[in-house]
Amino acid sequence: MSGPSGTIVSAGGLSLPPRAGRRSRWRSRGSLFLLVLHGRPSFALGYVIVTAVMTCAILAPWIAPYDPVTANPDVYLSPPGFSHWLGTDNTGMDILSRILFAPRTDLTIAVLGTALSAMVGIPLGAIVGYYEGRSLARRTFSVLVMRAADVLQAFPVFVFAIALVAVFGQSIISVVVAIAFVNIPIYLRLMRSQVLSIRGMRYVDAAFVAGSSDFAILRRHILPNAIAAALAQLSVNIGWSVLLTAGLSFVGAGVVAPTPEWGSMIATGYQNVTTGQWWPSVFPGVALGLTVFGFALIGNSIEVMADPAQLRLVGRAGKGG
């Protein structure tokens, strides 16, 4: 579990100009994207990995050599070989097929959990940031929300997540809820600090003076410029959530067996490592690590694209050679 490491530390440096015409903005973003990839080929690797993993998830039924949840005790614990490239587990299920199917579970949980937390955390953080220092009622609201976030974050993440799963029962939905809960404070804080810094800018004051409503100011002027940091966080967070999911499964609080899922595969396989069969747990670990790595790379690339200071470095590296 890499907890806080999932947080982008320097995201505060984002400062985008008020948005120009939609088209030009996207055009420049597009070229930016290519440029960043060109400047840091490793970022491209991130997109390749994640695309590959997603492709596996989608195409698994067609590319997996075996059914991922059909046991075949005749070939239990076969080492990697011709008929089972990555070997089989203790019930004779094909490891490769299970690894290929696993992102369906892992990514679904991670993406849903992260999306849910972003959907709650981003608007809430924006409102809290926007309300801070305004009228008493609004200030009280934002203070209450922030204290609640403190409490949530002070709870040991892992114990909290397991407790949530224990309460709601072992299912994918429970894990999604647990992941969403532990991630909400991250978005909440990120958006709040972004909004706080943008709120102080002239063009926001101008809109305020011009009589725009709070909602309009938030939507039109603040959110578009504050959201980049959250987007960068999103990718990193998906990776982190995959790790958390796997960790939960590892202690048996994750998905129901024999759902193909990397963490539970590692956990199940571990019993067999004891008696010399390393393959059931080593391969899923590699797949898991690669996937998280890919998402982290993408997160980094978004971060770089959104941070002018870092862009300069990239540009130099790109042009300079």
């Binding site: 579990m1 890499s2 907890g3 806080p4 490491s5 999932g6 530390v9 320097s10 490793s42 204290r147 609640a148 403190d150 409490v151 949530l152 002070a154 709870f155 040991p156 993440v157 892992f158 114990v159 909290f160 397991i162 407790a163 949530l164 224990a166 309460v167 990776g239 982190w240 790790l243 796997a246 960790g247 590892f250 202690v251 048996g252 609080a253 963490g263 590692i266 571990y270 490592v273 390393w278 747990s281 080593v282 670990g285 898991l288 690590g289 690669l290 996937t291 998280v292 790595f293 982290a296 790379l297 980094n300 200071a309 470095l313 130099r316 590296a317």
Partner: protein, 336 residues
Amino acid sequence: MALARYILRRLAFVLPQLVGILMVSFFLVKLIPGDPAVLMLGPNATPDAIDGLRRALGLDQSLIRQFAVYIGHVFHGDLGTSWQSTRPVVSDLIERFPATLELVTLGLSLALLIGIPLGIAAARAGRGPLRKIGEAYGLLAGAIPDFWLALVLIYVFYSTLHVAPAPLGRLDIALVAPPFVTGSLILDSLLAGDLQALGSALAHLVLPVATLGFINAGPILKMTQSTVGRILASDFIRYAEMCGLPRRVVMRQAIRAALPSIVTIVSVLYGFLIGGAVLVEIVFSWGGAGQYAVQGVLNADINPVLGFVVFSAIFSLIVYLCVDLAYFLLDPRTRG
């Protein structure tokens, strides 16, 4: 005095937070299915006995009332009893918390030893290969599940190479643990002058500490790199360069200025790892506090979970106080 005011403010802030955390955890774990009275009495209990115990435990009262009673007990240092260990949670935790603390402290120290120099080197390297290595390490360390790394380390160093002791806890099974003083086996065996126990404790620490160190060096590296990088590009370092100060002096100033950020991430990691190292604890059968809490959750044993939350909240409180103290010493601006 400024420092005292600081600490008081922190305390005033933390106490309600502690109650808040307890409240959330209390109601959360109360929702976990499983009747403690049934579990405590076991399968042979008659319904009468169960009802009696429920009354004795106050389980027949409203949740709010139960919570009030619990909080009252907590402030008297009573965290209840674990039905699994049949012992008071406080004594269980006093035994187990130091185990976790020792592991986490050493793991984090190793992470600092790896992360800070690499982070500084990467920040200095501009866009050279060191920076790439630093970045790759940061990403990789963040991507590897710690429990998996622990398994691989065990497989390599214990099963295959036979250089590490069996991952069966903190001390060789044949040895008698030194008398309990601090709870840290290193310190206790030193105090007792038991070199054999010391050696065994150290040997058992190697793999779990390496696991935690390697993984957590990632965020420390990232933080160091970005902070030192930012500081190296900052006005005052540029000014120091303009003043022609030697490279090492400039670097020293930069690192000194980066310290508060590093202290912050270390404190966050420290607090996180108390509960977050649980998977590593499990893999190494460490018998630490996190493992205790997780078992509590999984087995509807409420008091250990709440007790763990209390302990870790108090621990976080102490860590954050230390951080404030460090800030106070490191940054003159906070003294104003």
